[in-house]
Symmetry: C2
Subunit: 578 residues, 2 copies
Amino acid sequence: MTVIRVWAPYAKEVQVILDGTSYPMLSTRHGWWMLDSPLAGHGSDYAFVLDGSGPLPDPRSPWQPYGVHGFSRMLDHSLFSWTDDRWQAPPLSSAVIYELHTGTFSPQGTFQGVAQKLDHLVDLGITHIELMPVNSFSGTHGWGYDGVGLFAPHEPYGGPAGLKELVDECHARGIAVILDVVYNHLGPEGNYLDRFGPYFTNRYSSPWGNAVNLDGPGSDEVRRFFIENALMWLKDYHMDVLRLDAVHAIIDTSSVHFLEELSQEVEMLQARTGRHLALIAESNLNNPRIVQPREIGGYGIDAQWNDDFHHALHTVLTGEKNGYYGDFGTLSDLAQAMEEIFVYSGRYSAFRGRKHGRPVRGVSGNKFLAYLQNHDQIGNRARGERLNHLVDTGRFMLGSALVFASACIPMIFQGEEWAASSPFQYFTDHQDEELGKAVVTGRREEFAAFGWDPGDIPDPQDPATFERSKPLWEELEHEPHTSVLAWYKGLIRLRRELPVLKDGSLSQILISYHEEEQWLAMNRGPVMVVCNFSRHSRRIGIYDGQKREVLLTSRSGVVYREDSITLPGETAAILLQS
Amino acid sequence: MTVIRVWAPYAKEVQVILDGTSYPMLSTRHGWWMLDSPLAGHGSDYAFVLDGSGPLPDPRSPWQPYGVHGFSRMLDHSLFSWTDDRWQAPPLSSAVIYELHTGTFSPQGTFQGVAQKLDHLVDLGITHIELMPVNSFSGTHGWGYDGVGLFAPHEPYGGPAGLKELVDECHARGIAVILDVVYNHLGPEGNYLDRFGPYFTNRYSSPWGNAVNLDGPGSDEVRRFFIENALMWLKDYHMDVLRLDAVHAIIDTSSVHFLEELSQEVEMLQARTGRHLALIAESNLNNPRIVQPREIGGYGIDAQWNDDFHHALHTVLTGEKNGYYGDFGTLSDLAQAMEEIFVYSGRYSAFRGRKHGRPVRGVSGNKFLAYLQNHDQIGNRARGERLNHLVDTGRFMLGSALVFASACIPMIFQGEEWAASSPFQYFTDHQDEELGKAVVTGRREEFAAFGWDPGDIPDPQDPATFERSKPLWEELEHEPHTSVLAWYKGLIRLRRELPVLKDGSLSQILISYHEEEQWLAMNRGPVMVVCNFSRHSRRIGIYDGQKREVLLTSRSGVVYREDSITLPGETAAILLQS
């Protein structure tokens, strides 16, 4: 006997079509409809008809074998045989995160394809992979942020079973799994939620249209929809961590913010199961409240992305000044990001046209992620260029030293570890022709404002754009990729072996820099990182009487004496007190 | 030499018309325009022309002698001779607040008229008057929430000089002044702000249209506009407290909430001047964050209105079930409001269609206001009926006992102290004919939904509606008004004389009630308040062995014995341990 349930508070009449036959559902409390059916079970196809309109897929469908517009399929999670009983995820403080996109990471573009690359990731020293959204979205390939079947793993990736197998395999290999989930909007195609209930509100707008209704009439169930989605990934798919997309676009003025409620629910699940669970937010608010404990008015999220660190480092490396990069560009900004997390902690931002942020005080660096690249910073460029397409390999390697020596949790993006030659471009596979055209036109217009010729902007709907974004694994065998990989392995090993690099302590960090000479030296307890951003050799004086050994250098030619270190142009060195 | 300044970041050219002559202004930083003029000074009339369009009144005009559309007039605040050097406002914890509307409170409808009634208020025992908004709004009379000249006291009330004289006189008589300020929207008529700059945003909506832009591009100056408005009232008009209208409609997702910034600025002014300054918020969020200290993530507002207390008490007294009153109605709700402040502290609200609020923990009752009536609860009714028009005088008096015995700061509304026979209706004086008609139609349609006949709804634009809302002071000489006044004086005296009533301690409160028998007894340390809401005499057992004396009863016939108190129907008694 299986109970079919759906929340449809607007409907006067709801039918479920089950394996081809229509059955009336029973209205119960608070807009929920139910049917106890002896015919339904794992594998049954079903859909709902609301007041004669439909069939519509289940908003909480666990499986969409026919795509986002098609029938839903029932799924019995208990049928999967997990082998990870003794798995315990490492704490975020010791994490090295690897962000990847299932559709492009492997040649197959599936969960199984990802699993086949785990040797590489284990060898690299990764502790966590972060999967870009795997919820069901329209078409075959896409970034995943246009998800509409939030409870159903994308069928072309391998569906529910494929995802479970991947997570189980990761755990067997000692790798934790982070899943990217999108709770700030739903995709434009295949989104039937507003037919069912008040999932959206026009009281607030988001960059993607109407905002999700988290504080208006009917919002209790909308909040449960997202919270139970989060709990499902953690419970039924054994995810270790969720990464919450763009929480700044989650508008909730009620007395318990959605993020606070979510973090409390995850903490309760953690307490019940004894597993290490965590939440990571993407936030551009520069508001420490996100990661502060609930007891002092925070939302209790475990960590958040820190774009300020990225922008400060990226602009120093590239000299770029476009858009938000105009707010950054000095070593002083970079030093502030390393020492204080937010560069904008109350300062006027020309890009935002207002003062932005507030200081992080008394919060560990382990509450923030540092990265040289991520899917957005690459893929939201006109042509999806990686950093190593913009600067020399040496200069690119220099940047990564600061990521791994920072007080924050380091994250890299697929292929970064070998300076992949492939771009990561914006690609979509919208089935609605009008929408597909609008996406192409919109993107070309967006970049025309920055002086781009439309013809130079890859067409997101063109399958070649997707194909082009797959890393070329064969290049791993060749220079300079082999050297870059060795450098990343060295940095990750250092982080694993030196506890001070993982203690998150910001107060231990002491930075010297010289804007004109373009060098920066950071002391973190016994560790010293020296970076020469200029193209010229620099001799940097060290006058503290400490003896040090050179642990790693991004290229040869570094000369260390007791009172100075001389670095060739565009070189980083990491030293340890001996 | 006077400096004329205006923020007009959109304009390419700004002129000021000064006493009839036009002068070009100089563009300075961040969209500010300036002119140093030897001709300008106190009393000079001026207006701005932006890119040839105007003349427009100054957004920060200190004086609008010709109404909201007319020229602004310069004002030198230093010319007023204050006599309140030694004034220090009493703390909010000992406050008894009297809300009044300048246009109707006295026959004259002016600040001077209010001053002439101070004898009455002193005699009553009031510590603070709260003036409904006195900013400039369109027309002669209105509630004031449609203000557009936020820095200019309404000319028909007596303008800037009249307001200062009133405040000075209040201070001379030992009365502190609270001013109601509206920072969530501007009125629909005479609002030229969006011609000057990005004061509004369409990213959020408010019940009154576009929301104020507190977190988008250009919002720094918009925030300063409101914050400097608040500081002006405190500094230049010697206001003691500001009451912030409907803060739930102030949407700000930036990392420092507008209310937090405002409370910090007021605290700094307090520190500089040594004066007791405070902020009171109207909030329907049931979120303790509003009044929690900034150190633990709160906004640091000193106190907030508590509508839950009002609704719980009002419904028990009237049996009304319309609209939001449907969420209340039991003695259990009333007891919760007395003991825990919020009735909705996470419970499902049928009116809101969602769970609402969070518990108040570790916050003093003195952070909340309790009231039997206020301008909204009277005036937003179809016909503006006061509570004493809905229930017998005795039942009305019963209700006020709980207001003054509560752990919260008591507030009454003009005329309440004598159960005035006059209503307080919704009145406007919009000059724009279309707008005037829309207000009338809108109000009639709103109440038609509750079954009202349009003809029974007073016309807000009809001057008679305004006149009808003036209390009839002569009725003070007659019964039952004289007795009601004596009862209020008694309650206020008790609050003054018994420190326990002002300690704000919620943990001291112990309430018994009986839903069927309709009585409620509250112990607050040595004080006991017993209320019989039924129409029948009730004998209520008291079994704690304490000896008590009866301090006050709302009518005669109360019989107290050591182990019981017998109250006639609809009667309250206040007892003290002897």
